[in-house]
Symmetry: C2
């Protein structure tokens, strides 16, 4: 997959070695993440909300109630900044100064477009549902006309985007080589607990395979 | 602890029952989270970065290199929107429409102030280090004068803030009561893997207690 060309907004001023424009890496992060943060400007002030998303090809989709504050604020093409961050571990250096987090993050910029075609909208909602757990769409009741009308789906082209990654062990000053403390990385990841079937479950429903050994990693 | 009074920016237009102004809940979310997203406006456009933070009393602190883009953009008191989100589970409803995420999130607004007093700065950096793992500060080499000078510490008062929480089982339409699929919640949480000591470790260092059975929950 191609490398993108950085723009002013995706060019870092610090630690440029952590920044990447590789689309394969960017898609991998977006597909592993569960939610994003969407920032926009309202009356000159910053506003941000965490929300679900999914990716289809080179487009990221978000959705919401047609009456929601966010949708009404941005559906006509507001400038957005969207971020997805995956935490991989805590970097425990010998010096306080070099403590850090191992992470993979994506920051993207763009203006949303409203998905109005009904078949396209349904296709996005299928991918939304499968972004929770791959295969879920086949099992659930699909949106009816009223639900479709109440849901706004917005797409943002994945074009002005960068990934930022920190991985590996701590880096300290040579003068701290003998500092007497445990130093290394504590890996962190999302893990699933035991699935909790609802109390009013339909009797005899079996836990689907896509919820067994669940992992966000693809 | 008191309930805060909502402002225009912290009053939701949707799902008001999910919103809370209880400071105890807000502090709990902030103390459990590992990083925040900081959004600000640059030349009229939204910009956002994930970054570490810590809380001391009613103030949230972020830090960065004095030369970083973010610090230079906001250190003189830019309007910020800061969010912390904890994911607790995936809500697998019977209908695609009612799928959701169980989460606890905080959104806060404010202008940062620069922490210039050296003792106060050192105190914040101690809390920063302990936010990774409680007790870490006692083990590590503390910042020297040069590191202190290179680090900008910004505080934001936790005043204009709200928490948003979704918990519990899926809610579906009654007409879907008999839809034949597994439905419930798949709990998710950060768990720590086996600590990875650095290859150039000082011989004989013992894993500290605060890294054993590590959990972000307090």
């Amino acid at each position: 997959m191609p490398k993108l060309t950085p723009t002013t907004r995706t060019t870092p001023t610090r630690l440029p070695k952590r920044v990447d424009y590789d689309l394969e890496l960017i898609y991998e992060i977006l597909d592993e993440g569960l939610y994003c943060n969407v920032a926009y400007v309202q009356d000159g002030l910053p506003f941000m909300l965490p929300t679900g998303y999914c990716r289809i090809g080179a487009t990221l989709y978000i959705h919401g109630s047609v009456g929601s504050h966010m949708i009404r604020s941005i559906e006509h093409g507001a400038d957005l900044c969207i971020s997805v961050t995956l935490v991989d571990g805590i970097v425990l250096a010998r010096s306080a100064f070099h403590h850090s987090i191992n992470y993979r993050s994506v920051i993207m910029f763009g203006k949303p477009f409203l998905v109005e075609n009904e078949a396209e909208k349904m296709n996005v909602l299928a991918q939304f549902t499968n972004h929770f757990a791959d295969g879920r769409w086949d099992d659930v009741r699909h949106p009816d006309d009223a639900e479709l009308r109440r849901t706004a789906v917005l797409g943002i082209r994945i074009e002005e985007v960068s990934a930022k990654v920190r991985s590996g062990p701590p880096k300290d000053e040579e003068s701290d080589d003998n500092w007497p403390c445990w130093s290394g990385v504590l890996p962190l990841q999302y893990t699933a607990g035991a699935p909790q079937e609802r109390e009013d479950a339909v009797p005899g429903m079996v836990l689907p395979d896509y919820l067994k050994n669940y992992s966000r990693k693809k």
